[in-house]
Structure formats: C-alpha cells, structure tokens
C-alpha cells in the first residue's frame, strides 16, 4: 500500500531531514510512527501528500509511482489519501456538516450524495447532532473528530494522521484514537504519528521509530522507546 525505497530529503544545505528511509506498509495495517520533534516525521508526511518531493529515492502509494506523477495528478492523489493534522485545519466560517461536505464538494460529488454520506460519517466519529455547530463551539477532541470525518468521508484506502492528539488532553486523545482504530477495522490503512507513550503502548501495533532522519527500529508489536 505504501512503499518508500531509500528516500532522502534534504532542505537546502542542511543535514538531511530524512536519510535513506525504506518503509513498507501492507494494506489495512495500522502503523505508528514515533519520533521526537525534528526527527523527520512531518517531512515523511509531506512526502506522502506530495507537498514535498524527495531529493532521492522512490515513493509508491496505492499503486501510484510519485516519479511518474504529473502536476495535474496531485489533486487526485490527495483525494485518495485522508489526512488529519495536529492543528485540525478546519474552516472556521463553516459548520461541522459543511466542513465535512467540503471534501466531497472539492471531489465534485453531487449534492444529493453529499447529503446522504456526511451524516453517516459523522455518526462513525460520534458527532451526530453536532452538524450545525461551528468549530469554535466544539472541544479540541470534537474538532479533531470533525477533521477525521472529513478525511474519511471520501473513503480513502489510506489515512495519515500527523500528531492528531498533540493538542488534546488525555481523555479527548483517547476518543480520537478509538475512532482511528474503528476506521482501521473497516479496512483503511492508518499511519499515525504520536509521541504519547501511553497511546503507543496501549495500541500494541507496529511501531516505527525515527531518529535524526533515520529509522532506528521497526517492530511488529512495538513499545514506545526513545
């Protein structure tokens, strides 16, 4: 599903942010990427969403070879990958329903289909009844669940969540993690970065640890260690 082959990314003349990183993620896997800030997690995500191009190495996601990707294919690629950010990136002027519908509008889905799909997804993330609320009226955990709903509403095969619990207290973080687990059970490949030790140890999933731009460990059922 995701394949990175000796990927290196260097910004300017600095030390490489990622150095010869190779990673293979199977379909329906749940992979946690652990690393301190500056380790290269964000760079990895930017490479996957094609916000950045690798300096060298090969990236193939969902059968798409990034080397062969043309500029006009990038929007299509991004529609196939669900993304969740630490700072939610919700549109403040739109309510919960509109924020989720937004992703489908961009993809050009008919309004009737949007009306049909959005409530179902909001139900999955446990936000039924909050459709009319604006992001400022929600708690951090709720906001992140809106963002997750937006990411999965297009039923992507892959969901990548960059520190989705980073801005949340523990209780809300758990809500978010449980939603991610649920989505994974539905068959979506999930890539999650976090530096929350409790979450990592609780999940008992594959853990990839990055340090200084290199993968230093990759365990099938990993524990947090740095």
């Amino acid at each position: 599903m995701i394949l990175l082959d000796r990927v290196t990314k260097t910004y300017g003349r600095n030390e490489p942010a990622l150095e010869r990183v190779s990673l293979h993620v199977e379909p329906k896997e749940f992979v946690i990427i652990v690393g301190q800030s500056g380790a290269g997690k964000s760079t990895l995500f930017k490479l996957l969403t094609r916000e950045e191009k690798p300096t060298s190495g090969k990236i193939i996601v969902g059968g798409m070879d990034y080397d062969k990707l043309r500029d006009k294919d990038i929007p299509l690629l991004r529609r196939k990958i669900g993304v969740v950010f630490q700072d939610f990136k919700l549109l403040p002027a739109r309510n919960v329903y509109e924020n989720v519908a937004f992703a489908l509008e961009i993809a050009g889905l008919p309004t009737t289909e949007i009306k049909h799909t959005v409530p179902k997804v909001l139900d999955v993330v446990g936000l039924k009844g909050k459709e009319k609320n604006y992001p400022r009226e929600l708690s951090g955990g709720e906001r992140q669940r809106v963002a997750i709903a937006r990411a999965i509403v297009r039923q992507p095969k892959i969901l990548i969540a960059d520190e989705p619990t980073g801005n949340l207290d523990l209780k809300h973080a758990w809500d978010v993690i449980k939603v991610l687990e649920k989505i994974n059970q539905f068959g979506t490949t999930v890539l999650l970065t976090t530096h929350n030790q409790e979450i990592v140890n609780y999940l008992k999933r594959r853990v990839v640890t990055i340090k200084d731009g290199k993968i230093i460990s990759d365990r099938a059922v990993g524990k947090y260690k740095l």
Binding site: E51, I74, P75, R78, R79, K80, K89, L91, I106, G108
Partner: protein, 327 residues
C-alpha cells in the same frame, strides 16, 4: 462480461461531464458567496471600475454626438451657381445635365427668380423696410442652381467645371461654396479627432488603474484566506477549483460597476436633456446624446458589462496566478 465492458466507458463519460458541471456550478456559487463576504474590501475596486466604465461610456456617446453634429453640418453644405437673367432654358437644362454628370454631385435643384424672391422675403419677414424696398423695385435676385455634393470635402471637380470660361459667362455672381462653413467643419473634425485620441488614452489609463486596484484587492483576499486555500489544496482541490471563485468574484465587480455606471449616466442624461436646451453647449448636442444613450441602451449595457467582466477576469486571473502557489 462483454456487455459490461462496453457499457462501462459510457457511464464514465456521463459521470465526467456531470462532474464538470457540478464543479463549475460550485465555482460560481463560491464566487458569489465570496463576493458577499468581501463586499467592503471590494468597494474600492468596484468604484474604480465604475469610473472607468463611465468614462468609456461618455467617450462612446461623445464620439457619436460629434459624428452626428458633423454629419448634420456637412449635409447642409452646397454650391450655389447664380445665373444671369438672359440664360435660356436650353442653356440651363444643359448646365444641369452636365453638373449631374459630375461624379461627386448628389443633386441639382433649380431656384427660379420668383422662388428666390419668395425665400428672401420669408427670411427677412421682420424687416419691414427691406420688404418695402424689394416690392418697389424689379426682382433683383438671380435665379440659381443649388448643387448638393456627395462629399463636401471634394468640391474640386465641381469647381473645375464651373470655372470654365464658357460656364462663368452664364453666371451673374461668383459661385458660393458655403466656404466659411467648410473651415468650421474642418476645425470640428480636428477637435473630434483630438477628443477621440484623448479619450482612448484616458480609458487606457483608467483601465490600468482599476486593474491594479482589483489586483490588489484579490491579493488581499488571498492573503486573508490563505488558511482556507491551504486546506483546499491539501484536500485535493484542483487549481481551477481554487482560482475559479476569485475570477467569478471579480467578474461580479464588473457587473455591479457596469450597473452603477449605467444608472448614474442614465440619470445624468435625463437631467441634462430636460434642463439644457439642444445645442446649449454648442458642439455637444445634449439632446442627441440623451437620445443616443436611450436608443442604444442595451448595446451600451452589454458593452459595459463585457468590458467590466473582461477587466475583472483578466486582473484577477493574473493576481491568482501570481499569489496562489498551487503545488
């Protein structure tokens, strides 16, 4: 299986065209929504575009009015050939025939001595002494031929013919070419040309200024909404889907500016033609301007809107290209 294969592409094509239509619809809808949201930011741009379109409109109307005035005056230019009293009917018929044979001659009218006297009396109806003086003497006025040229600027061929010795022998007085008028017309034509050129320069300057202001407005809007634009980009919106609403928004500036400009001009012309008498401004026949405006309202409206839409779309497309990095 085979059936399915052939059916599949067709369904795909339909989906694609539907998809395009929905996207276009959403681009327009978002453009309208953004227009509403940014109305205060847009006011400067709309005002500037309104001024530009108003100047454009005035230039068009003024041009039409000048042309009308010139046409009006030149249609009154003619050549008068005064005949001696002893010119026979045959000689006269010959002369008329020859004059009509000249290329630039539109028509030749004969005014008899009696008719000339009648006209003269009618022209001086209030001058009692002159009336009395004329009735006491024999008719002193010569018969004449009034030659109307097709092109008043090319009287040479007519003049050449009339200046032949055998023709001058038939004339009682030198030929009259409405000469003073010709000079006046030339001056008007020159002034018109000048105004036309000045108008074009003015229009270009104002178009550039309004484009710069729109450009800046769009730049500010992009700056204000950069978070939203980043999100759109990350969620996989195409560049066209992101830029489109900005272009729709500025096209709306053009439509609103055209409507405002037309309303202002309409009111001005209505007031002007009811308070100022025709030709009160000499060259500018305000009444004609008002009529021209009224008669060509739809054409003017369409031109204004089109001009506004083009100015708006061009400047925002440029601004969006410049400031929306869509990678």
């Amino acid at each position: 299986m085979r059936l399915k294969k052939s059916a599949q592409p067709q369904a795909n094509v339909k989906m694609k065209s539907d998809h395009k239509f929905i996207t276009l619809e959403r681009i327009f809808k978002n453009g309208f929504v953004n227009f509403g949201r940014n109305i205060w930011l847009a006011i400067a741009a709309i005002a500037m575009m309104g001024i530009t379109l108003t100047i454009l409109l005035f230039a068009v109307v003024a041009n039409a009015t000048f042309s009308h005035t010139i046409a009006d005056i030149t249609s009154h230019i003619d050549v008068s050939v005064y005949l001696k009293d002893d010119v026979s009917e045959e000689q006269r018929a010959n002369l008329i025939g020859n004059l009509k044979g000249i290329e630039n001659v539109q028509a030749v009218a004969y005014i008899s001595k009696e008719q000339a006297l009648k006209n003269y009396r009618a022209q001086n109806i209030n001058n009692k002494e002159l009336q009395a003086a004329i009735s006491e003497t024999d008719n002193p006025l010569p018969a004449s031929l009034v030659v109307s040229p097709k092109d008043p600027n090319k009287l040479e061929t007519i003049k050449e013919y009339l200046d032949k010795p055998e023709i001058t022998a038939l004339q009682s007085d030198p030929t009259s070419y409405s000469g003073d008028r010709k000079a006046a017309i030339d001056k008007i034509a020159k002034a018109t040309d000048f105004f036309r050129q000045a108008g074009i320069v003015g229009i270009i300057i104002f178009i550039v200024i309004s484009m710069l202001i729109i450009f800046n407005t769009i730049r500010m809007t992009i700056f204000n909404r950069r978070d939203e634009l980043v999100i759109m980009r990350l969620l996989g919106a195409t560049p066209g889907y992101i830029r489109g609403p900005f272009i729709v928004e500025t096209m709306l500036y053009g439509v609103v500016a055209a409507a405002i400009s037309l309303a202002i001009c309409g009111a001005l012309f209505a007031v002007a033609s009811s308070t100022l008498q025709a030709s009160a401004l000499g060259l500018l026949d305000i009444k004609y301007s008002g009529e021209y405006f009224k008669n060509n309202l739809w054409l003017i409206l369409t031109t204004q809107m089109l001009a506004g839409i083009i100015i708006g779309a061009a400047s925002s497309a440029f601004a969006a290209r410049r400031y929306l990095k869509l990678k």
